[in-house]
Symmetry: C2
Subunit: 202 residues, 2 copies
């Protein structure tokens, strides 16, 4: 199909498709003349994936490029590939004190490589709460830890056998399920609030 | 204290403080001459809160201004205030089909105002997963729902009695706990992966 048809099918504007092509997020079409290219179903799928990563996924163009590069060509070591893809989505380390993060990991009883970037991510999240003067009550934190453990376990239990499919599941699941879980938490809060105080907006 | 001391104490650069003052995120100091102002402890706290909202909280300046406005002056109706503060943090509604979101809310058994913006937020999260060709297995989704319910319940059970404190807890908890829960999920996944496959990065 031509680029105009690709735009219609994918719901992504032609100018945006050209930008993604220039940025290497979408592979080039098959050239049929010096100014025209043909695109296939794989391009439709790819454009939807790029839109999801840049939109709800909240990735920058550079982060999305790295994540797609790993998904497209994971290489032999899935763990290295997974680390590279997830590492691409972390903010810069900013020297937040990691001691509170390590304490919390110990409290959760999790086996974590002390050098993994997730420790810095947790340290930054805890530092922001501290900055805001927000204290998570102990009972609430315990539920955060047990709920996270339950989620991690069931996700790993459902990971596909095929290594490339497993990588795609792990990477996209991490990035794109975060907005889902954030929305579910807000809805659960609204439900709990309605049961506690009566309907909130009626 | 002078602005230079405020910068040192808060860890926010002087130029950034001036920007926050211009944008109305931080109240002005007490003028001691036509070119100098004095700041107090409340300014140090406020700057840290602003940094947390704009940094880990991921809010825009306009969103942070609205959230702070509500926290500073919640008015008489806490539910209206909470809705305004949380509503300020949603993306634009983009016409995502809300039917899958409503089905999932029914499956969770949650009592949700059908017009609440959280329904649109969930619809967008589900649309992004669909765009990416990512299917959440049924057993995983069930755990997402039960974990979210447990989290919402314990959070509401710990909400402060004082209405203004409750509003601050609810608003900051929603915004700033999201990065915490995202980090905890990634760590729990790493722990589950290590127990399933052996240490991943050693």
């Amino acid at each position: 199909m031509r680029i105009s048809e690709l735009a219609r099918r994918s719901g992504v504007a032609t100018a945006t498709i050209k930008f993604y092509l220039r940025e290497g997020l979408v592979p080039p079409g098959e050239l049929t003349s010096s100014t025209q290219a043909q695109y296939g179903e794989a391009h439709v799928e790819r454009l939807r994936l790029v839109r999801a990563l840049l939109g709800q996924g909240g990735l920058t163009v550079a982060q999305a490029r790295e994540v797609l590069r790993v998904i497209d060509d994971p290489g032999d070591d899935m763990f290295v590939a997974l680390g590279a893809a997830q590492g691409a989505t972390y903010g810069e380390a900013d020297g937040a004190d990691e001691a509170p993060a390590r304490e919390l990991i110990t409290r959760a009883g999790w086996a974590i490589d002390p050098d993994s970037p997730e420790v810095g991510q947790l340290a930054r999240a805890l530092a922001a709460l501290d900055d805001a003067g927000f204290v998570v009550p102990d009972g609430v934190m315990d539920t955060y830890l047990s709920a996270s453990t339950a989620v991690g376990e069931v996700e790993l239990a459902h990971i596909p056998e095929d290594p490339a499919a497993a990588l795609r599941y792990a990477v996209l699941g991490t990035i794109l399920v975060e907005p889902l879980l954030a929305a579910l938490r807000r809805l659960a809060e609204q439900d709990a609030s309605a049961r506690r105080y009566g309907p909130s907006r009626s």
